[in-house]
């Protein structure tokens, strides 16, 4: 877009909004990474970091919402500006959820009995799911930052794989619990982690849809 000579105030508000969104993407990324590290059994203080990141994301989300409301009320944005503002509103709450689920994963890992092998070694499919989810989040955040609708075109397919893995892991866990190969408590925690990762991927898909709308004006389905 041409450097806006006019409507400086609108341009500056949008810039501030973009900065907050950039931070949210970055922090949510770190949160998910921390959660995955916890699942891999590497501790080293990353659990506390994820809790902090979640709180920060929540604060940032509130800031973005306020910024958007102010922009809508004062600047009456239209066209791409309007789509950016409404898109940011939705994406911010998706990213807030990313922080929340990462925190939930860390807490679930915390509840696992000590001395057990880490979750990823116990369930290699879970590692695959984590990697996929993380890549999805990377994809949509890059698509957002570069305004590239093309980049999110295959996000659905990645999500289908995640869903399939979720299904498979769920049945596997149920089977192990019934065979008493897995303690019920541990099993329940892992079922939750499985579920959280699946939700995380869904949020990445949502974000992808919003990015597509922001850039092209077309709402996916």
């Amino acid at each position: 877009m041409t450097p806006p000579e006019q409507r400086r105030d609108l341009a500056e508000s949008l810039e501030r909004l973009a900065e907050s969104m950039g931070s949210m993407f970055e922090l949510s990324h770190l949160a998910l990474e921390g959660a995955l590290r916890a699942l891999a059994g590497e501790n080293g203080g990353s659990a506390e970091a994820v809790l902090t990141l979640d709180r920060e994301l929540y604060g940032l989300k509130a800031q973005v919402v306020m910024g958007c409301v102010e922009l809508l009320a004062l600047q009456a944005p239209v066209a791409r500006d309007l789509r950016v503002v409404t898109g940011d509103l939705e994406i911010a709450s998706d990213l807030d959820r990313v922080g929340r689920y990462s925190k939930d994963i860390v807490e679930a890992v915390h509840a696992l009995p000590a001395g057990e092998p880490n979750a990823f070694s116990a369930l290699p499919a879970l590692r695959e799911m984590g990697t996929l989810t993380e890549r999805m989040l990377t994809t949509v955040s890059e698509a957002y930052l570069h305004g590239d609708a093309e980049a999110v075109r295959h996000i659905e397919e990645a999500d289908n794989s995640v869903d399939a893995l979720h299904e498979q892991i769920f049945h596997e866990l149920v089977a192990r619990i019934s065979d008493k190969r897995l303690a019920a408590g541990t099993g329940a925690s892992l079922i939750l982690v499985n579920r959280y990762l699946e939700r995380l991927a869904d949020h990445a898909v949502n974000i992808g849809g919003h990015v597509e709308y922001m850039v092209t004006g077309v709402r996916p389905r």
Partner: protein, 282 residues
């Protein structure tokens, strides 16, 4: 240009803007004339430049169409071609076709006076005549020598439609110039309605009004579009967004884009439109 004075209200209000073209084979057009004014390849030339450059645009019945664009883009010239007011300005040449209900308004044997009775106009500043309120509204009827009973009934009906009756109904003999700006503008609307037009052209009708006067005119537009086709030129994009069913963006004498208003302001197709409505130029 003779037609039934009021087409019956359509039993099932079908929104022509809703996208799907009416399936003519299935139903006999539910709205008598979905397209009231059809403009085709319209050019307006001044001695040294082209004011309107190949405009083709259809204006639907019972819809508000907003014309937006920067100053000098041809908005005003455009609506002045729709009732042949453009011919009042010397030195302008009009080419192309403007059809009202299928009839060429620039056709041979069509007098501009006939056209202007069917296609009324309201200007940027309220222009009332230095006469009584009553005589202002009756102006167009007096020109035809309508009999007094009918004049009286029409004046009352027009003032009611323009939302002014409650304010001036008991002081019809008062000088129109004593009304407030907003009232004067609604009086002008009443005057335009009195000759029984189907189309109302408004050239920045709220440009000289305060927010209250503006609001009343905008409210009025919502009422009027049940019976008329309204074309409004406006500098205020928020106003276009609020009142118009469809919005057309003009730039440099050309029609850049026309679309449903919500669509145009959410997802304009043309980059130029986007830059203009987001305030990146103009």
């Amino acid at each position: 240009m003779s037609d039934a004075p009021e087409p019956p209200p359509t039993p099932t209000p079908t929104d022509p803007a809703a996208g799907a073209p009416p399936s003519a084979t299935l139903r006999e057009a539910p709205v008598p004339h979905p397209v009231l004014l059809a403009v085709r390849h319209l050019f307006v030339r001044a001695p040294k430049r082209v004011l309107l450059d190949d405009i083709s645009l259809e204006l639907n019945d019972r819809e508000v169409t907003a014309i937006i664009g920067p100053s000098g883009c041809g908005k005003t010239t455009f609506i002045r071609t729709l009732n042949r007011m453009v011919e009042v300005s010397p030195g302008l040449r009009v080419e192309g076709s403007v059809r009202y209900k299928g009839q060429e308004i620039y056709g041979a044997g069509i007098d501009p006076v006939q056209v202007r009775r069917r296609i009324g106009m309201v200007f940027q500043r309220p222009i009332v005549f230095p006469m009584s309120i009553y005589e202002n509204v009756a102006f167009g009827l007096r020109l035809e020598g309508t009999d007094e009973d009918e004049v009286e009934a029409t004046v009352e009906r027009s003032l009611k439609r323009a939302g002014l009756w409650r304010e001036v109904g008991d002081s019809l003999e008062a000088p129109a110039l004593q009304l407030s700006g907003g009232q004067q503008q609604r009086l002008c609307i009443a005057r335009a309605l009195a000759t029984g037009p189907r189309v109302l052209l408004m050239d920045e009708p709220t440009a000289s009004l305060d927010p209250v006067g503006t609001q009343k005119i905008e409210d009025l537009l919502f009422e009027l579009k049940h019976e008329y086709s309204v074309v409004i030129v406006t500098h205020n994009m928020q106003q276009a967004a609020r009142v118009a069913d469809r919005t057309a963006f003009f730039y440099g004498g050309k029609l850049v884009e026309v679309d449903e208003t919500a669509r145009l302001f959410e997802t304009p197709r043309e980059r130029l439109t986007e830059q203009y409505i987001t305030g990146r130029f103009g």
